[in-house]
């Protein structure tokens, strides 16, 4: 009857409860009761933690409100450019094309080159345009990147259209409004998806990391080993709570954004699956931080060290269009970059639902890989 546990265990085995799998059939079965009560415990733990609520909800909301109100005026103001000398491409545009440009750009003429450049340096102008034969030369201000992007975008469209005309195809001098909007997203348009991405990242990362560290430090994980609760109930309840928090964030941020003038485009609903997939990716990062760190301070520090720079490098705070090329390159390999990209494409850029597929696959793959790595560091109790 007695099962003798011999002393043949490896001498390195000093840990008390290694994560070795229990034999099949000896695992407690998934219990929905346990799942529910653990989820409720985690949810209450979250809403009663002021710092956690602040960073997952109010901090991103601040950004949305500040950008949405303060910078909206700057965003809607027309880009001002000066035409120096004879710029026939613009001046000879047909009236409807001219009208389209006038909606977004204010054209000034009659300035000398030096006067124009001086005003550009003072940021009174967004751009100075000259024509040298077949070449258009645009100088933009570094100070106002949104304005500069607007001007570049509009003129780019003009040049494209003109090129088509010159190469003998049917001239099409119409500037489609969507292409204009695409390059000159109003502040609220890019800040909302950016902050959704950032808020979700912070919520999921911190949620998983602090639950893991706190529960381990407070011996709750140890205590749960003594209750007939399978690991799957613990994990799924944490995942479910994080997904619920993320959907709540999505609803609140979009709601506030719309009050401040956010206009959603066709396949915005893809933000929901994107949010869920992104949450899983950041839960895996949180799992990693929580497994590696031994104190909640260390876990929070690590989570911050990962999510904050990622926010800047992923276009969550600043529009990537205005960012240097190396940032754009980095954003392409970061989970927050994929998430923000997918959210912007579907929510404000008018792309179809298919634009969400790749970011979803990438975040899910990332989640799987990082979870696998994190479980190698995981332990039920402090050693």
């Amino acid at each position: 009857m007695s099962s003798v546990i011999g002393s043949e265990t490896s001498p390195t085995d000093t840990g008390d409860v290694p994560v070795t799998a229990t034999p099949e059939g000896r695992r407690p079965r998934f219990s929905s009761n346990a799942f529910r009560s653990l989820a409720v415990a985690m949810w209450k733990g979250f809403v009663r933690d002021r710092a956690a609520v602040f960073f997952t909800l109010f901090f991103p909301l601040f950004f949305i409100i500040i950008f949405g109100t303060v910078f909206t005026d700057g965003g809607t103001a027309k880009g001002k450019i000066a035409l120096v000398g004879d710029v026939s491409v613009i001046q000879q545009l047909p009236p409807d094309a001219k009208a389209a440009i006038d909606k977004t750009l204010e054209l000034k003429t009659g300035l000398t080159r030096d006067e124009a450049l001086h005003e550009l340096r003072k940021d009174d102008l967004d751009g100075v345009l000259e024509q040298h034969g077949n070449r258009l030369e645009l100088k933009v201000s570094n100070g106002d990147q949104v304005g500069a992007a607007t001007v570049q975008g509009v003129l780019g469209s003009v040049v494209d259209s003109t090129n088509i005309a010159v190469t003998g195809q049917q001239p099409r001098y119409t500037l489609s409004s969507s292409s204009v909007q695409d390059e000159s997203l109003k502040a609220i348009q890019y800040v909302t998806p950016g902050m959704i991405g950032y808020g979700i990242a912070v919520g999921a990362t911190f949620g998983a990391a602090t639950t893991l560290v706190e529960w381990r430090k407070r011996k709750v994980l140890r205590r749960l080993r003594l209750a007939p609760v399978p690991t799957s109930s613990i994990v799924t309840s944490r995942v479910a709570v994080s997904l619920a928090i993320a959907l709540f964030q999505l609803a609140v941020f979009v709601g506030v954004g719309m009050v401040l003038g956010l206009r959603l485009t066709g396949s915005w609903y893809m933000a929901v699956p994107l949010t869920l997939c992104g949450t899983l990716a950041f839960l895996s990062i949180g799992l990693f931080c929580g497994s590696v760190a031994t104190s909640s301070e260390a876990a929070v520090g690590m989570a911050n060290l990962i999510t904050l720079p990622m926010g800047f490098l992923s276009g969550a705070f600043i529009p990537l269009e205005a960012a240097p090329g190396w940032i754009q390159a980095i954003a392409k390999v970061l989970p927050m970059g994929w998430l923000v990209q997918g959210l912007k494409d579907t929510m404000v850029r008018g792309e179809g639902p298919a634009a969400a597929i790749l970011p979803m696959l990438l975040t899910l793959g990332f989640a799987a890989v990082v979870t696998l790595i994190a479980t190698r560091f995981f332990s039920w109790e402090d050693s």
């Binding site: 007695s2 546990i5 229990t22 000896r26 346990a34 009560s37 706190e214 709750v220 080993r225």
Partner: protein, 300 residues
Amino acid sequence: MTDTIEVQGLVKRYAGKAVVDDVSFTVREGEFFGLLGPNGAGKTTTLEMIEGLRRPDAGSVVLLGEAPWPRNPRLLPRIGVQLQATAFFDRLTAREQLSTFGSLYDAPAGRVDEMLELVGLADKAGTQAEKLSGGQSQRLSIACALVHDPDVVFLDEPTAALDPQARRNLWDLLREINGRGKTVVLTTHYMDEAEILCDRVAIIDEGRILRMGPPADLVRGLSAPTRISVERAALGLDDARSLPGAESAEQDATSTVITSRTPAPVLAALAERDALAGLQVRGATLEDVFLELTGRAYRA
């Protein structure tokens, strides 16, 4: 009757040193069993190997007819454990802690208020666990161990942070649980607690069981003298030594203490001299047992 717990040759080593060293004992069904010993004796380690939280390096444990290691889900609903370090969910109130733990075991919801009442925390039901006093959180921790009405209860120093009143209340509670047929295993520093509560105790020091048996038997088996003390002013040292039956006598700042194996004539002589002011008579205790076994005084 079957043994509820059977421990054979249990060994646990840390850094090459055996902190539990060839420990064997059995606990019968319905018994109240105590592990008694000073800090670092190996009580917690022994207990946690029985509970299935730590893996023994050698030896075997059979708990309710099953092996507790590796984690054995068939055993878990039948045992209730209060860990030495309290384990609570963050920011949940006393009631929420209990109902969370309760639902992990599918315990009926009514148990929660019953348990709060039982450990005297009904008025603290809405207080977050972090804000309970040491003794209160200790009691909550015990309530959490009992919420699913387990057959075997393990308590690791349950009275450590309690005031005398709460300690006595908890003793009553544990006796009551034991009286309902539950097997109780506790560890303690306190000799008096072990003497009062336990059917049998194992005195453990440096990982080894020194002696095991009913507390009264352990004390009786000892030829320790009785200590009789009176106020220093009532009796001089020389007088004390000359009393019939006195083996030795000493004085401290407040009292004169006589040791004797035949206390009756000593007491009679004291009464005759009317030197009974501040009289205290102390028989041998488990403390004397520990002293005799280890050659050093017990410092819990």
